[in-house]
């Protein structure tokens, strides 16, 4: 590897992570609150009861605040692709460009059209037309998320493309395999459901605040009932899709799975860590130090979740580096073998160009074939040592386990709140109202941790196995990235503060004054 400024990669990563994490503070509430307000408006249209209309309009106002502050914050990520990650942008342009273009044209215009009817059209259009506009606004936002998640899933599991050594781009050869890749579909449902869960928690928390203040009681009780039912439904499906995620990660990103579980030495009938603390003395994948200071394990569960077989072999970090174990594609290659193939692929790219320049078509065809043969390991040619393959295990491990624990807690909380709500005892249960109120931030924490697992867990790859970060980065100055990092930090923090302030003001006003 040529001498490169490591801090450029780190600062660019930090900037991308910060932008994405801030963006994800706004997106989930838009996706989930949109569904809740649509359900309430549907109840209004069905029953004709004005209180449902009031509830729908109040949550719609908070939706509007969140939507307005959050809209376009994701575009900054596209700026970063073009400036900081130009090699990557060029390399994937056709594939990444298509979903993002569809997102911008179809979904954005769909949202923009119907959102105005939703906000301005209460007295201008029929009830049913208004209801349809509300649902279509939410559908538009959800379709936007679909395209972004399809693009992200492709980076985790690149399919449906062929590398063209003339244009140095991956070109789309099968749109449907990209759109319908099992990783993309599972990621879409898992992510959208996590947004629904967060919004259920948000509505329960805000409504609980009203109950604690003994204000807007009827509105709060109705909102809590809707949010708890919606929340149980979403949280259970979220757990189901989480199981799907672990299966796909095991098949396609085994290193991520090993980091999620802190698994260094693979085993058959591997257990799932229910609770664990990593041993900070473990410094290398290759030492014999026990990776756990403490653990509570569910026997055979990891094998069952990852491979649908309680006795399946789950490779650990060391196995993935050493290779030699059986996978569904045959025997796993070692790091050295993959590295050799990666270097051969990169050399073939160089040789192909030389042959093309020399107009030697026979040689060019030979090198092109060699490149194609080794392309699946192209990215390994940029890695010097096996340690570079390992993501930061503590970040991935703790993010994953805290996220799962929070997910289980949310299921229990939704169930409990529904039970109290159904029995008409929620108004008296102050302790439960306080819990609901303080659980709102935990919904955000769980979502951010989920993204940390997905993104930190796939390091060092910008595109799994094909392009590591150090090859994806532009040759720009680290200082310019540092400056824009802090500019974004200030901009997003101001936006977040503005959102919290405006939202709190609306909540304090209450549905009567807001509506």
């Amino acid at each position: 590897m040529e001498l490169m400024d490591v801090s450029l990669v780190d600062w660019s990563r930090a900037q991308f992570a910060m932008t994405a994490m801030y963006h994800w503070l706004f997106v989930p509430l838009t996706l989930g609150l949109g569904v809740i307000m649509s359900i309430m408006e549907s109840l209004y249209v069905k029953t004709g009861k004005e209180e449902w209309k009031k509830a729908a309009k109040f949550w719609m106002t908070l939706f509007g605040v969140n939507f307005a502050i959050g809209v376009a914050t994701g575009i900054i990520l596209e700026f970063e692709f073009g400036t900081n990650w130009s090699n990557y942008s060029w390399f994937v342009g056709d594939i990444f460009g298509a979903p993002l273009a569809i997102e911008a044209i179809v979904a954005f215009f769909m949202e923009a059209t119907f959102i105005s009817i939703m906000f301005f059209g209460w007295k201008k259009v029929s009830k049913k037309f208004h209801l349809a506009s509300t649902w279509l606004t939410v559908l538009g936002a959800t379709i936007s998320a679909l395209w972004i998640l399809v693009a992200n899933a492709w980076m985790q599991y690149p399919v449906g493309m062929e590398f063209n050594p003339d244009s140095v781009r991956n070109e789309m050869i099968d749109f449907w395999s990209i759109l319908l890749s099992p990783v993309a579909l599972n990621k879409f449902f898992h992510t959208v459901l996590s947004a629904w869960v967060l919004s259920g928690l948000f509505v329960m928390g805000v409504s609980s605040w009203y109950l604690l203040k003994k204000r807007e009681v009827d509105f709060a009780l109705k909102s809590i009932m809707v949010a708890s039912v919606f929340g149980i439904f979403s949280a259970l499906l979220l757990a189901f899709t989480g199981d799907g995620s672990s299966y796909h990660v095991a098949q396609r990103q085994p290193m991520k799975l090993a980091a999620m579980e802190g698994l260094y030495e693979g085993k058959t009938g591997a257990g799932l860590i229910a609770f664990g603390i990593l041993n900070s003395h473990k410094k290398s994948y290759n030492d014999s130090i026990n990776p756990y200071a403490f653990k509570v394990e569910i026997p055979k569960m990891l094998s069952l979740l990852a491979y649908k077989d309680p006795n399946a072999f789950v490779p650990g970090i060391k196995n993935i580096i050493d290779g030699g174990y059986q996978t569904h594609n045959g025997v796993a290659l070692s790091f050295e073998e993959k590295q050799a193939r990666g270097k051969a692929a990169i050399q073939s790219l160089a040789n192909y160009q030389k042959a093309v320049n020399a107009k030697d078509t026979v040689d060019a065809a030979l090198h092109k074939a060699q490149l194609k043969e080794n392309y699946a390991q192209f990215g390994y040619g940029y890695l010097d040592k096996p340690e570079e393959l390992i993501p930061h295990v503590p970040t991935v491990f703790y993010s994953f386990h805290i996220m799962v624990l929070l997910g289980l807690y949310f299921i229990a909380l939704f169930g409990l709140v529904f039970f109290f709500s159904y029995r008409k005892k929620i108004e008296q249960a102050k302790w439960l109202q306080w819990i609901c109120l303080w659980t709102i931030p935990m919904g955000y924490v769980a979502g951010e941790l989920g993204w940390a697992v997905a993104e930190v867990g796939r390091q060092p790859w910008a595109i799994q196995d094909v392009l590591p970060l150090q090859a994806a980065i532009s040759s720009i100055s680290t200082n310019s990235v540092k400056i824009t990092f802090f500019l974004f930090l200030v901009l997003f923090s101001v936006l977040l503060l503005a959102e919290v302030r405006i939202m709190l003001k609306q909540i304090k006003k209450g549905p009567d004054k807001v509506v």
Partner: protein, 74 residues
Amino acid sequence: MHIPKLFQKLYSFYYDGFTKMTVGKTLWIIVFIKLFIMFIVLRIFFFPNYLNTNFNNDQSKSNHVRQELINKSN
């Protein structure tokens, strides 16, 4: 529907909607300031597209990326 009437209706729909906004006015101000900062300040001064700025055509861009990909592996 008669076309001019349709436009008139659309105009009055948006005119009424925007003039009767309450919290929406603050939000629109924030949206415009945000978009101005993003697209005018950040995009132009801090986030030039690296390849578009340094190369004129697709051929030179692909040559540059190819060279980067080859050099970075050495």
